[in-house]
Amino acid sequence: MLKLTCPYCGIEADETELHGGGEAHLERAAGGAGDSELEQYLFIRSNPRGVHFERWHHIHGCGKWFHAARCTETMEVFGTYSAQTLRPPENTLSEIKRRRPNWVNA
């Protein structure tokens, strides 16, 4: 039963008030994109055993989407951050590196 801190309302939100939204930082493929780019965007997922950047919706709370960096094996959370960003923030990345020195951002 995860709990994640919503960066908008500041609540330490219980899993019951959250909705998972899959991998974060996917780039939308639209008009002009090749079939392969479209496939990447719609289906291909990194699905790592380890550090995962993912989207969450505080659906039964403030209603905002946010991102989390979480370990899919231990459920540790390295940080939650705004969904209005194209890449994870530095403080989250450094927290990951602090706890997972060998981690490489694929």
Partner: protein, 418 residues
Amino acid sequence: MKPRQKYSAFALVREAMRGHTGWPRAWNSPLPSKRYDVIVIGAGGHGLATAYYLGKNHQIRNVAVLEKGWLGGGNTGRNTTIIRSNYLQDASAAIYEKSRSLYEELSQQLNYNVMFSPRGVMMLAQTHHEARGYQRINNANIVQGVATEYISPEQVRELCPIISISGPRYPVLGALWQARGGTARHDAVAWGYARACSEMGMHIIEQCEVTSVRTEGGRVVGVETGKGSIECGKLAIVVAGHSGVVAERAGFRLPIESVALQALVSEPIKPCLDVVVMANTVHGYISQSDKGELVIGGGADQYNNYSQRGSFLHIEETVRALVETFPIISRLQMLRQWGGIVDMTGDRSPILSRTPVEGVYINCGWGTGGFKAIPGSGWAMAELVANDQPGALAASFGLERFREGRFIDESVAAGVAH
């Protein structure tokens, strides 16, 4: 290779007289050879069945099945053992029905009692939309030659008296009924295939994790493992739950996310539920094992998870739904809950496919419904690996379908979980 001892009541009596000291190992446990024609990664039901049908149908017997942990320890040993083939899409109906029909004679084929019990599977229709969806599946099944029928609430009550037909929230409007669906003993399926593979001289190597896949000129030549380097002609990756991780080691990515699916059992009670019941509107399915436990499954978590444990959230949701549908279970108790890691694809249908690496084949993405598919999946996968070309059973399940937009979407009729 010592010929195996045939299992029978007579053998049991004979062994009883010498304190059961004469039983041989159910499967061999050798050190890896230098090279195999085919290496199958994953000694779960699907991997072992792949190896078995490679030997049986295609006479490819220089085969090793490599297992990271213990045989049958993934989803094969963690599911709710439901077997059915009442699927909507042609491709699904074909492979699941093939599988179901193989289950019918699997105990005799393997000389191992896998306890296939065609006790009947019913899927309750609890909204008009769901009722129409099941009627649609039933209509498709008529054409596909899958024996199902759409039955009335009265028939539901007759087959399963402990269901509360009248609701109040979601009255039972009918059900899709497959009389020859049922359950089997999950562990026995893996053990039975392992024993039969071993009998054909194949190597089953446990505690042997594949750490990388070696290729030359875009073609597989072998694998590195915890037990050394092994060469192979072809490589079949059959590792539900960890497909993404192994595919990454072979150098490609998959349209897959791994999530935890929750299940639970009650304590054993005397028989009260003869059929398998699935209630998809309220998210829960239930059957009673031969031991007497109520075996209950529900939803999958919505987040990527490799921990083989899970949340309480779906347990609660499922139990709540089943207490409402089967009021007598309220005073029974949850004895044990667990999670399994399942691969979910973009259309929730499996992948049986060639891959970007020549000679590497993948079988994954069975989502929450892999157990029922084991024999059919092994059959189709063996065909694909042996011929480097999918047969009719596997042809629709290629990786390229995601690029083409050619979905095999089973959720369309009534939001049916697999």
